[in-house]
């Protein structure tokens, strides 16, 4: 039997609040993989993590790792956090200020009655893993932010927990260190082979580290997919908007031929596209099309259709590229280019494979 983390029908409602914090979330995290809970603040990702940790009590649902049931509200099972055998890294690292690095890492082992040489060996192994064995005698305040974060990770994995829970562990680091930290957290997770749930609101972090990403909004799980699929085939307009700089145009389906459709946008231009969602469509249906700014091409070469002529409204230099906001006559588009715009008009090519289609949202 695999030791997957299985979350079923997880719902959490805070007392005295009418809206639910998490609504009927179902999720399976494969043993040894890293799943990221991604979403804007208040989307329910941290609440979900805290429910897994046992720090919060869900209103409904089941949480188990393989056969090890941690929460089953229907059957009255709710293990307190200390009986779940987990490891967790917090946003502030939560290193205990009155204990040295060694004692911070040793805390859980001591509670498990690990003593003497065995204790020392396991603590030092864990500190070795994060490359901080020589700082064992320091106090937390004597460490840099990056070092504290690594100690927190060593502390979380020292007991070989069933799950590793990471609650925005990189958000307090400087931008530069944060990118390095991504790489080695991921490396460490793969080396230890521990099933991991990672919470962040930073999409690039999620893409860089995850096997699977669960996008959440307003307590609901919108899409659970590998990063590349999330990018290429977002399930909802919200997911498309949250992941990457995406522009939306309103239109009407003009014709259908299997998965090939044409959509007429406001000023009458017709755009061809290939639909990869499994939704059903009908002619004359109101729809929203989406395109990522990096997929829009400057139409220099000959193209067969899918050309929009647009006036440049603003251009912003971002260092490695330019970002333009243009008016197509059917709505605004965000467009990226390497070179500055040469005139105040441009013609744009929207590749049919890059256009996403969504039902119009009320």
């Amino acid at each position: 039997m695999e030791n997957n983390l299985i979350i079923q029908n997880l719902t959490k409602q805070f007392a005295g609040v009418s809206s639910v914090a998490i609504s009927n979330v179902n999720l399976t995290v494969k043993e040894g993989s890293l799943t990221t809970l991604l979403g804007p603040s208040g989307c329910g990702k941290s609440t979900t993590l805290n429910c897994i940790a046992g720090l919060e009590e869900p209103t409904q649902g089941v949480i188990r790792v393989g056969d090890f049931v941690m929460t089953d509200i229907g059957k009255g099972v709710l293990l307190p956090p200390e009986q779940r055998q987990l490891g967790m890294v917090f946003q502030s690292y939560a290193l205990w200020p009155h204990m040295k690095v060694f004692d911070n890492v040793a805390f859980s082992l001591k509670l498990q009655k690990v003593r003497g040489d065995e204790l020392k060996k396991r603590v030092m192994d864990s500190l070795d893993l994060v490359g901080l064995a020589d700082l064992a005698d320091r106090y937390p305040f004597q460490l840099s932010g990056g070092q504290q974060q690594r100690v927190a990770l060593a502390r979380a994995v020292v007991t070989r927990p069933r799950l590793l829970l990471l609650d925005e562990p990189l958000s307090n680091l400087d931008a530069k260190i944060r990118e390095q930290a991504r790489v080695w957290v991921r490396e460490l997770q793969q080396r230890v082979g521990i099933t991991t749930v990672y919470v962040t609101h930073d999409q690039s972090e999620a893409f860089a580290m995850s096997d699977m990403i669960a996008v959440m909004n307003k307590g609901e799980l919108l899409q659970f997919a590998p990063p590349n699929e999330l990018y290429s085939n977002p399930a909802t307009q919200f997911v498309a908007e949250f992941i990457g700089a995406t522009s939306f145009l309103k239109g009407v389906i003009a014709s259908m031929d299997g998965s090939r459709l044409t959509v007429r946008v406001a000023n009458g231009d017709i755009l061809k596209l290939t639909d990869r969602s499994s939704k059903s469509w009908s002619v004359n249906q109101n729809v929203t099309i989406a395109i990522r700014s990096e997929r829009v091409e400057m139409a220099g070469a000959q193209r067969d259709g899918n050309i929009l002529n647009a006036g440049v409204k603003s251009s912003t230099y971002l260092g490695s590229k330019w970002q333009h906001v243009v008016d197509t006559g059917s709505g605004s588009l965000k467009v990226e280019s390497v070179d500055a715009a040469t005139s105040d008009r441009m013609s744009l090519y929207l590749p049919p494979d890059s256009i996403l289609l969504f039902p119009e949202e009320k």
């Binding site: 940790a53 046992g54 089953d72 709710l78 956090p81 055998q85 502030s92 205990w96 007991t159």
Partner: protein, 568 residues
């Protein structure tokens, strides 16, 4: 690895401790409260075999003109003392913290001295210095200058204000430290002079603090016993507290029903005020930590005035605090104190020998020390556990603990004493505890539960809750987290809470006044006994002993242990 699904564990030490906190905090309030309520409906004293229920205690008291007169007098006294204490306290806080007043560092320590002195001692000190037969009064009279009457409404108001000034001063000072200096800088940039900035920005920003400490002081003054008793008793001045005292201790026929009714009335009145105060607290950002290291705007330059202002502040400290206290210390070393006889030629240990040769008096000193050391120690641990249950657990009863721990605030010390006394009389089995220090200690802990609880709680709330979450996920129970993580981190706060509690227990007299008996005297009760016998010099000796122990506690803890006592 498999596990059988288990229901919530039936037994855990976490729950035992958390339930104990609920039960103990409720018991501490209910135990002394119910005999008073019960007595208020009884025609006869509550230990009497006959139990006739009646409302006549209430109707009699409400029809009693004297009661209404005393109520009005008490209110006038409390409000006048509060206004005076606020005016001087805030003025001193602004002068010392925001201007270039010469000697301001030195003054800031001296101003808070009355905070650590029992109001009973302060009353005696002022009596010895400025009373009709006081050292200072006689001196002024012999110089043919006009004198004053300390035993009067305004005399009592001034001494009470002296006692409360440290509170208003400290409150305004901490509020000044918390206020964002950028607000003052903005006023300066906008063209305000330093003086205008203080008047238009700094002081108005203190408004929540002023209102809050005004209520705190009014509540405290309403229940103040010592100063009105010592200064007003001889000339027939009564406040609600001294009225209860007179009814219960001095009166020939003790009217238990009347005592109970007045006590209930006072508790209800204070409850309303404490409730208002609680409302204000939520409006205030009390627990916001001082943010950033933004530079303070330049101190207000007092210019040519600064020498004069500094001299006035110095004179206030000298006349109001130093001389009265020095006077009582000196008096403890002489057979009698008079401006006509050089005291330094008649120095003697007689007064101290008198105290220590009497077993009863000696015991009152050792009892006070025992209570300060042991009851305060046990008390602070209990208060810390209560605070951790209230603010650091998911226990369902945590809100009960939160409210019950603060509610004793509504019980004046003298009423706590009466309540415990009657409870020990009524409840079979516990009566044998009545004459012991254990009974006294429980009553003291109850009385100071709100103080200790609110001394510890801000520190508890400042510890990031991720620290205990990390411990729980790491395998520790709630109690394990408390023991290994929270209590060690809170050690400095607990230590200063302990010292504050120990000093308060040492000073306390009102709780003990009804409750004490042979064997459970404390310094405060003995002082009042001796004062009633007219022994000014032994009272001075006891006052000096109490101040010496307090000073020892303060210097020992701040210098040796690095404790901060009023980092409110």
């Amino acid at each position: 690895m498999t596990s059988t699904p288990l229901t919530k564990p039936r037994f855990s030490w976490d729950r035992v401790v958390q339930w104990s906190m609920v039960i103990i905090t409720i018991t501490l309030v209910v135990f002394p409260a119910w005999p008073i309520v019960y007595q208020s409906f009884l025609a006869k004293p509550l230990y009497d075999k006959e139990r006739d229920f009646t409302l006549s205690n209430y109707t009699k008291m409400l029809a009693n003109d004297k009661f209404w007169h005393i109520l009005g007098y008490t209110a006038a006294f409390a409000i006048a003392a509060t206004i005076l204490a606020l005016a001087i306290g805030i003025l001193l806080a602004v002068l010392i913290n925001r201007t270039n007043l010469p000697l301001r560092k030195f003054y800031s320590n001296l101003v808070t001295i009355p905070y650590f002195v029992s109001p009973l001692v302060l009353a005696f000190a002022w009596m010895e210095m400025y009373g009709p037969q006081g050292f200072g009064t006689i001196l002024v009279r012999t110089l043919k200058l006009p004198t004053w009457q300390l035993y009067s409404f305004w005399g009592i108001v001034v001494v009470a204000a002296m006692y409360y000034i440290p509170n208003t001063f400290l409150y305004a000072t901490s509020s000044l430290a918390l206020s964002d200096p950028q607000l003052e800088s903005a006023a300066r940039i906008g063209g305000a002079t330093p003086f205008q900035t203080i008047l238009r920005v700094t002081v108005p920003l203190l408004r929540p603090a002023i209102l809050y400490s005004a209520l705190l002081t009014v509540v405290s003054a309403l229940e103040l016993l010592s100063i009105p008793l010592v200064l007003g008793n001889g000339v027939g001045i009564d406040t609600l507290s001294t009225y209860i005292y007179v009814l219960g201790v001095v009166g020939v026929s003790k009217d238990y029903g009347a005592i109970a009714v007045v006590a209930i009335f006072v508790v209800l009145l204070v409850t309303v005020l404490v409730y208002l105060q609680g409302k204000l607290t939520t409006l205030e950002r009390r627990f916001v930590t001082v943010g950033g290291k933004a530079t303070r705007p330049k101190l207000l330059d007092l210019g040519k005035m600064k020498g004069v202002v500094s001299a006035f502040v110095g004179l206030y400290i000298l006349l109001g605090i130093i001389l009265p206290l020095a006077c009582i210390v000196l008096e403890s070393f002489v057979p009698f104190l008079s401006p006509f006889a050089n005291p330094f030629k008649m120095l003697t240990w007689e007064n101290y020998q008198g105290i220590f040769s009497s077993p009863a008096y000696r015991q009152s000193v050792t009892n006070s020390i025992y209570i300060s050391i042991f009851a305060a120690g046990i008390g602070i641990v209990f208060m810390a556990l209560a605070s951790l249950t209230a603010y650091r657990s998911t226990f369902k009863g945590r809100n009960i603990v939160k409210y019950m721990a603060l509610y004793p605030r509504a019980f004046p010390g003298i009423i706590v004493g009466i309540g415990f006394l009657w409870a020990f009389l009524l409840i079979p089995g516990v009566g044998s505890l009545r004459n012991t220090l254990i009974a006294m200690s429980i009553a003291f802990v109850m009385r100071y539960l709100p103080l200790g609880f609110s001394a510890v709680s801000p520190a508890v709330m400042q510890v990031s809750d991720e620290l205990d979450r990390a411990a729980r996920v790491g395998g520790a129970t709630w109690l394990g987290t408390v023991r290994h993580i929270l209590l060690p981190i809170l050690r400095p706060a607990l230590l200063s809470g302990y010292i504050i509690l120990a000093i308060s227990f040492l000073k306390e007299y009102a709780v003990a006044l009804f409750l004490f008996s042979e064997g459970s005297r404390v310094i405060g009760t003995t002082m009042i006994e001796l004062w009633k016998q007219g022994g000014a010099e032994p009272v001075a000796a006891l006052s000096t002993i109490q101040m010496a122990i307090t000073a020892f506690l303060i210097f020992g803890s701040t210098r040796l242990l690095g404790v901060k006592l009023h980092g409110k």
